[in-house]
């Protein structure tokens, strides 16, 4: 589990008030929504706001790729890393 992934897991647990779940219990490749962790659409909005606050990355809900980015902790971590690199390059 990368540093970024661990940090994200902590953010998910804290933001969504997931009682009794530790970062170690979340599989980085597990589905965040639906069958996996069982999050719903309001959770997605909530995470979008927190990610914006924590990393300064604005999630565009109209973006076609947004679903893929939110699929798992790993895909979200990759998305955040690449967005940050892009920002740095500007």
């Amino acid at each position: 589990m990368s540093e970024q992934e661990l940090e994200l897991k902590k953010l998910v647990i804290e933001t969504l008030n997931l009682e009794d779940i530790t970062p170690a219990e979340i599989d980085s490749e597990e589905m965040l929504f639906g069958d996996g962790l069982g999050l719903d659409s309001i959770d997605a909005l909530e995470l979008g706001v927190e990610i914006q606050k924590a990393y300064g990355i604005k999630m565009n809900a109209q973006n076609e790729d947004i679903k893929a980015h939110f699929a798992s902790i790993r895909s979200l971590a990759n998305f955040i890393s690449s967005e940050r690199q892009e920002k740095r390059a500007l």
Binding site: L16, N17, L18, E19, G38, D40, I42, D43, L45, E46, V49, Q52, K53
Partner: protein
């Protein structure tokens, strides 16, 4: 004064720190004690985790008493509270004032009817819901609303839920000292042979100076066998009477 509106109290449930069942409320009612104010959360482990994690203490209290009172799956719901989810509302306003993006969950939960909505999600109850905020007369206005609904359709019960949380320090000037951290749920129906009936009435005359929040004395009335409850708010005198 007229005889008021008659009704039957099918059941009730209340929660406050340290007081979670009818026996403890009866013991409390026999003393002159205040409603306890220490930090404690109601047990809501029977609720789905996904829903539980979005509930504030006020939300947990509300759903606890609503489910304990029974008939939450089929009754029409009246939710009354002086201040509602004011703690969540304040957090939202402070976030807005700082120019930060607001929490979507916080936004959804800060509206006054959010807890009635959460209850309907848990119970899959699609009956009507009303949310009321009427200052220190919120409990009484909630009763009026519930009794009006019974008159409109006497065939189905009405679940009245009344609850309040501590007011944040930020709102200190509006603080009424004796608003307890407490939730009450009552299942009301039209008078029937199975139970003693009660009547609720209002007179526009203030017969004495208003004495703070009515919930504490009303709970004592419910938990003991006293025959009458009376309280004076800003609009006038409210009474509830138990018929022999």
């Amino acid at each position: 004064m007229d005889d008021g509106v008659s009704f039957s109290l099918e059941s009730w449930a209340a929660w406050a720190p340290g007081l979670s069942d009818s026996v403890s409320w009866q013991q409390w009612a026999e003393t002159e004690r205040d409603i306890p104010a220490h930090e404690e959360l109601p047990d809501v482990s029977d609720l789905p985790a996904g829903l539980r994690r979005r509930l504030s203490r006020l939300g947990k209290m509300t759903l606890r008493v609503a489910l304990d009172a029974g008939q939450a799956e089929r009754a029409r719901i009246v939710f009354s509270s002086r201040n509602g989810n004011v703690t969540e509302m304040l957090k939202l306003l402070q976030t807005l004032a700082a120019g930060d993006p607001i929490s979507p969950t916080g936004f959804g939960m800060a509206v006054h009817n959010s807890l009635a909505g959460m209850l309907s999600i848990v119970t899959k109850n699609t009956q009507s819901q009303t949310a009321i905020a009427a200052g220190n007369e919120s409990l009484c206005m909630g009763m009026m609303e519930a009794l009006s609904l019974l008159r409109e359709d006497p065939n189905e019960p009405v679940l009245l839920i009344h609850c309040d949380e501590n007011l944040p320090d930020f709102y200190q000037p509006f603080q009424d000292t004796d608003v307890p951290v407490c939730a009450l749920a009552m299942v009301l129906s039209v008078p029937n042979a199975a139970r003693k009936s009660l009547s609720f009435r209002f007179s526009g005359h203030s017969t004495k100076v208003g004495a703070g929040d009515p919930l504490k004395s009303f709970l004592r009335f419910l938990a003991t066998s006293s025959s009458e409850w009376s309280w004076t708010g800003s609009q006038g005198n409210w009474q509830c009477e138990r018929h022999a």
